[in-house]
Symmetry: C2
Subunit: 335 residues, 2 copies
């Protein structure tokens, strides 16, 4: 079914308020969820709301939590999110990184004990719109095998990078895996096969059978390079901030486990560099050169990271977002 974006947002906000969220937290969480749906990242959209509600009821999300700073240096901070609402705490951490960067040039904030933070590009985009370069990464449940391996040891460990540009920033937001577990589950439910480059089966062989893939492991994207990036996220957002080793991460998807992954937020103030206040204009010039370059045969236009999501967002602001009827009914029951 199609739901008007403003109605979806207001509904999500009411649900979050009913769950005990403070007003500002309810607004932030609803905004991040809705922005994911508007960009077609439905796995990070309103479908998370029933899980969030279940986690609040199970005491795994604590609406009253405050962010505590455990350690800081001129350019860094380590924060304990106290198992609060993940998106709201992530927004605070990104703001803190930005505040630190405004004084020190760079702000790097690690976060422990925070719930699922959803679409990373949200935070990177907001920070880039404020004039800062931003980077965000986080560890997730192990579903991905190492390059050359076959066991689930790594998460889909996503990375986002934002860079100022006008009118809209560069926003790169990608998982370090070849696909998402949700797409494999979707293929199982629809009874269709999957591309052979997505996953290995339980014996470590490439498979086009979605059910076999569920018993195996997702491939890292881009072979050894994507694997290396995923492992770097595991080391930095995971171990450096003192959260669980990637193979042991739990609690971002279920309503049973306390979350134990780690997040990392980085902001850089380009005005530290001579001419850095002109970064947005210089970026825009390069991005526009790329956009206006010759497409490959069969491609209509060359896009830069963030373009496709924004195009979709604009359509959905007008036309509404597509949500499963059952999900919308469930959300209605949470109100």
């Amino acid at each position: 079914m199609t739901v008007d974006a403003a109605v979806a947002r207001a509904t999500a906000e009411r649900v979050l308020l009913r769950l005990g969220a403070r007003a500002d937290d309810a607004a932030t969480v609803a905004d991040v969820l809705l922005e994911a749906d508007l960009r077609g990242q439905h796995s990070h959209g309103l479908l998370r709301l029933p899980t969030i509600a279940g986690r609040v009821e199970a005491g795994l999300i604590r609406p009253e939590a405050e962010m505590r700073i455990l350690a800081s240096s001129p350019a860094t901070a380590l924060a304990d999110a106290g198992n609060g609402f993940g998106h709201a705490m992530a927004e605070r951490a990104m703001s803190l990184a930005q505040d630190i960067a405004s004084d020190a040039g760079v702000g790097l904030v690690g976060v422990r004990d925070n719930n699922h933070i959803g679409m990373l590009g949200y935070y990177a985009e907001r920070c880039a719109r404020a004039g800062y370069v931003a980077a965000v990464c986080t560890t997730t449940e192990p579903m991905v095998h190492p390059f050359g391996g076959s066991e689930r040891l790594l998460g889909t460990n996503p990375i986002a990078i934002g860079v100022p540009a006008v009118p809209d920033p560069f926003v790169l937001d990608f998982s370090t895996s070849e696909t998402a577990i949700g797409k494999i589950i979707d293929a199982v439910q629809r009874g269709v096969s999957i591309p052979p480059e997505w996953a290995l089966d339980g014996r470590g062989e490439p498979t086009t059978d979605a059910t076999e893939a569920l018993a195996g492991a997702i491939n890292p994207f881009g072979g050894a390079k994507g694997y290396g990036l995923s492992l770097a996220v595991a080391l930095l957002a995971g171990l450096m901030v003192g959260s669980a080793p990637n193979p042991e991460v739990v609690g971002t998807l279920d309503t049973e486990h306390a979350v134990n992954k780690g997040d990392l937020f980085v902001a850089v103030d380009p005005r530290c560099f001579p001419g850095g206040s002109g970064l947005a204009l210089a970026s825009t010039s390069l991005l526009d050169q790329v956009r206006s370059s010759r497409p490959a045969p069969g491609t209509d236009v060359v896009r830069v990271p963030g373009d496709r999501g924004r195009e979709r967002r604009e359509r959905c602001i007008d036309a509404g977002i597509e949500l499963p009827s059952a999900l919308w009914a469930t959300i209605g029951e949470l109100e």
Copy 2:
């Protein structure tokens, strides 16, 4: 032919001294070149020496250059390398980032007007061995098309990440392109075809003809994700540090153009985080878990980034490095 590593290093150092390099610079440049050959990264090895000599003779490398700091903040610095020896200046910049990080927690150093810096993993590894997390990236001549595009607008824009571990650090070092131009040139010379996923021809169609690929553009690795990373490097190591837009980068490969690319060096002191002094041990534990996990069928062992290069290095320290006879003769003439 096979050349003993110590002989190769001493020869390179003598050539650099003859070119007017200071003793410490000659030692650094020779070390970076040799370490590349030892790891099988021959395109960043001693074969660069004749180009370096030609650039010194053309006045494009200035042996007497000093690094000048153009701007700084608590966690950042922008340096002008004065067209000195690229590898030596890169080593200084990485050290500066590390020094800044030891005070501020993070050190981010942008470098302008620096010559080719070779194998990025060298600097990341050195910094990681000193106990810091390191990241390095640089822009290179445009040879890569945007995802969905067909024009050469982006460099192979490599990225390296180092993380402390024992006995050897995690060292990820990769280009954001599917292959290197050197491999395509090699295929032309040997008259063999190339894999269809490497490059597009001049009309923007995938090609297995290496000569057609030379007239076209190399693919970014990993589709839209690798493209996004390459563009992020272009924005940050390129535009943020005030160097040339990626489509206009020249001077890393030839003996005619002053170099105009940019480099970015980042160091993070993990001791800013509680328990961060234990990062090397925690990393080692995770990396060893990955190494000892079940390989995919047909793979002998699961490796982590840095392992393969070190294995090769150890073999070459004993057995010598393979160099083309013509190259070794040319280097001999430079002594």
